[in-house]
Amino acid sequence: MDRDQMDLLVEIMEEHFVVLETALYLDNQPDDQNALRLHNESSRRYHQLLEMYETRYGPLRNTSMSDYPWGYVDDPWPWDVDFTNY
């Protein structure tokens, strides 16, 4: 995996993490406006990043579109990505 692809993948992990943390917080406190605002902003960025990644590098979800042939089956699978030089 080249540096640009790994950068984007880690950015997706980071943005998704904010989305998840705000979601867990909101599950208990749905009325917190600040939290909801942060969640929505992060959600928008996260979906943009995900689409950008999939357009360049192929589907990360089996619900996403793919070039020919079906790219979802391609390497690398998550446990094979080597982050040690990142």
Partner: protein, 61 residues
């Protein structure tokens, strides 16, 4: 005696119940910092420190 006990315990809280304080979101880490630390919220960041690791590692010999 009973009424003193109640007020010093600051209670609309009942016996035989567990109460975890409710977090109120305030400052947040950047997305990079948050993923690195494992939480978005500084008030929930509670790392396992080398000193504690030393203490716990040696505690049971």
């Amino acid at each position: 005696m009973n009424s003193n006990y109640q007020t010093s315990n600051n209670c609309n809280k009942q016996l035989a119940r567990c109460y975890v304080p409710i977090q109120v979101m305030n400052r947040v880490y950047s997305s990079r910092e948050a993923l690195r630390r494992g939480t978005l919220f500084p008030e929930l960041y509670r790392p396992y420190t080398p000193a504690e690791k030393e203490r716990r590692g040696n505690y049971y010999g």
